[in-house]
Amino acid sequence: MPMDAEEIEKLIKEDFPDAIVSIEDLRGDGDHYAATIISEAFAGKTRVKQHQMVYSSLKGRMGNELHALALQTSAPNKA
């Protein structure tokens, strides 16, 4: 059962309440999304660690219901 964007955003925000999340449906099949996530929690972390944090917020759906989620993660830049 593919996922919809709101559900993905809700799951991510549960683990990252401060996050700015934007989700793009790449193919309209509920299976291939791109997500840009900005959160303080990523500060000082490697990209691998940042993405692992997002995958764990999806509670095991990544690689199962959700086939592809192109991630762009970053901490808010202190301009």
Binding site: R47, V48, H51, Y55, G63
Partner: protein, 113 residues
């Protein structure tokens, strides 16, 4: 759960190859767009690499995800270190970070011709 035999097999592969890509398919016949994208990056950088076709080995296909705590394939390892999946490799390539990283690891890469 990742059994010891599979963990050992993965560890041996990762230790035995400077640059190792766990992928779906082979470099000549990638079976998935994301695996193909990483192959393209490595070819552009003209880096020597080995690959493991996880489609031919279900134990490795699942085991590698627990080994690195990363839920998807492809997965790139350089000198035993998990570098990332398709998004991260592509991002590092576009920013030039991947080339620098490989050179720092003594894996000299020619500039894309």
């Amino acid at each position: 759960m990742l059994d010891d035999t599979t963990r050992e097999r993965i560890q041996n592969e990762v230790d035995a190859n400077d640059v190792l890509l766990f992928m779906k398919g082979t470099p000549v016949f990638p079976q998935c767009g994301f695996s193909a994208a990483v192959i393209q990056v490595l070819s552009h950088l003209q880096v020597k690499f080995s690959s493991v076709n996880v489609l031919e080995d279900p134990d490795i296909r699942d085991g590698i995800k627990q080994y690195s705590d990363w839920p998807t394939i492809p997965q790139l390892y350089v000198k035993g270190e998990f570098v990332g999946g398709c998004d991260i490799i592509r991002e590092m390539y576009e920013t030039g970070e991947l080339k620098t990283f490989l050179e720092e690891k003594g894996l000299h890469s020619e500039p894309a011709a």
